[in-house]
């Protein structure tokens, strides 16, 4: 009986291990159980494809000024119209996905990961270290995300790297705080005591025994921060503190068009605005699905 069952489990496992089958089932599961999450993922994948294939699919050079075609409304030639310099808006949106995704992915990944390690370390060491570290985090948290990012940009200057830095820094304490709460519970679990009794170094205990067990909140934070980071990048660029002309970026496109031409050429602002909303929406939908999958307490059904 026992033998039979273990064989059945082994057989089931082998089937599961076939990567193609596993992937197909995962996709089917996602589409049927979380259609919104699947839609979000589809939009994200579309954005990634757009960013990667930009030179192939963009109909025009996104930075080429064509003065005879200024303020063209959407047409067969320029599907989404042209801006005040005659640049094709569709091409700029396609190239803009590169900026948005680069900033979104890098800053949320770096910020959340640093937050993860710092949060777990803070919980592990506890005591005075934890107290001081948490107060430092409090100071960082006291600034609204955008103000903090503004401060960083005004210190280090504009440009893609500095925008990434500006968005990463405020993400760290937010992630560290959530992760610390989970790590405090992990710290009291006997396998961490076992590792300490074995005389393992602090780094090994934090990275091998605690970090892998707080992955769920980390992944949830990661996806939600991607949406925030994209929005933040757009905001900074709009305020003129982010990416600089002529680099195509969605927030920058809003800045160039929104104020002056809102009535005469609304397409200049509408389409990049839609791109921002859609991508943030997609990441939020996907993030919700990830949270539902990883955190059973928040599961609605």
């Amino acid at each position: 009986m026992v033998e039979l069952r273990s064989e059945a489990i082994a057989a089931a496992k082998e089937e599961e291990d076939t990567p193609r089958r596993f992937l197909r089932e995962a996709v089917r599961d996602l589409v049927f159980r979380k259609p919104l999450g699947a839609a979000g993922l589809a939009i994200i994948l579309l954005m990634i494809a757009m960013a990667l294939l930009a030179p192939v699919i963009a109909p025009y050079n996104p930075v080429a000024n064509v003065y005879e075609k200024i303020h063209q409304p959407p047409s067969v030639e320029n599907w989404l119209g042209t801006d005040q310099f005659g640049r094709d808006i569709l091409s700029r949106i396609i190239y803009g996905a590169r900026t948005a995704l680069l900033v979104g992915f890098v800053s949320s990944l770096v910020g959340a990961t640093l937050g993860l390690v710092l949060g777990v370390a803070s919980a592990y060491f506890g005591g005075r270290f934890d107290l001081v570290f948490q107060r430092v985090m409090d100071v960082f948290m006291a600034f609204p995300l955008i103000i903090m990012a503004l401060a960083v940009v005004s210190i280090f200057g504009t440009g893609v790297q500095n925008v990434i830095l500006a968005i990463t820094i405020p993400i760290i304490p937010r992630c560290a705080r959530v992760v610390r709460a989970s790590a405090l519970a992990i710290r009291e679990i006997p396998y961490v005591d076992a590792a300490r009794a074995m005389g393992f170094g602090h780094g090994r205990i934090i990275l091998r025994h605690m970090v892998p067990n707080v992955m769920a909140p980390y992944l949830i934070m990661l996806t939600s921060f991607m949406a925030q980071a994209i929005l933040l990048e757009a905001s900074l660029s709009y305020l003129g503190l982010g990416v600089q002309e002529p680099v195509p970026a969605w927030g920058l496109m809003l800045q160039g068009g929104a104020e002056e031409y809102a009535e005469s050429a609304p397409w200049i602002a509408i389409f990049p605005g839609l791109a921002i909303s859609l991508s943030v929406f997609a990441f939020n939908l996907f993030g919700d699905a990830v949270r539902d999958a990883l955190d059973p307490r928040l599961r609605s059904d």
């Binding site: 076992a194 074995m198 393992f200």
Partner: protein
Amino acid sequence: MATDFSTRARPSASWKGEGDGVLLEVKGLKKHFPIVEGVLVQKATATVKAVDGVSFSIRKGETLGLVGESGCGKTTTGRCILQLERPTAGEVIFEGVDLSSLGHKELRTWRRKMQVIFQDPYSSLNPRMKIGDIIEEPMYVYGLPPDARGRRERVRELLSVCGLGARMADRYPHEMSGGQRQRVGIARALAMKPDFLVCDEPVSALDVSIQAQIVNLLEDLRQEFGLTYLFIAHDLSVVRHLCHRVAVMYLGRIVEMADCDALYENPRHPYTRALLSAVPVPDPEVEHGRSLEVIAGEVPSPINPPSGCVFHPRCPLAVDGCKTHIPALREITLGHWVACTEV
């Protein structure tokens, strides 16, 4: 609970020590946890005296049982010995070195020699690591043996010593039963070839048939590898089967300590007597005719323990002197120590 261990010989009653050297000596161990209030300016408003002046020694090859109710400080004593909690006062002398005075780095060499088996087999293994990796990790960290092949060989060896198949190395903890997991915990503890094991209620989370297997495994391992155990438990029948000597704790203090048979057959401290009379006898006729010594009242809070002898409010023998005078452990017959003035 009456577990049947009759298939195995108990450690002999006339045990005189397999090598008389003292391996571990605990002197006046205290662990007080402050109850802290305030956020920025922290102030200790009270202390929980989890362990309050515990002394005992364990000889090489001996198994000392540490029994008592929940919350009496037996687990904290074990954790202080392992330096998982740093003692508030007192010494933990292992092979002549006071571990409580050592720093994190200096402790590493000693940690190899003393290991721990935890109560809950479900939370004592990292759920994200395979069994083989869990057992191999300490060998990898200490580089013993230095090559990956030798380590894998030793993992197989340890698994088989603990009654698990070599195929288990590729499993995750959640794929195993409680008894199997506890065997993994034992294999991990043995990986560094320790001399001393703290067994913190290693069988109380397992069901009775598995308990017997694990207890017998521990006894076999002790004989095979010459291990020394501190066996923390609240199940008196398991302790009687496995231990050479037993110490009884109440509210952070040892109230009685004696050779196993002397303690079970002739308990002297009123608390020990009550504790032993609460163990059911697996014969209904004997059980029916037996008188039960029930202790009055509840265990007092360790935040505000009674004055004098901590047991006096519940003690049938208490006299006025018990309220003011803290009784020291005294040897009433050879090797039989009792902390009570009235026996």
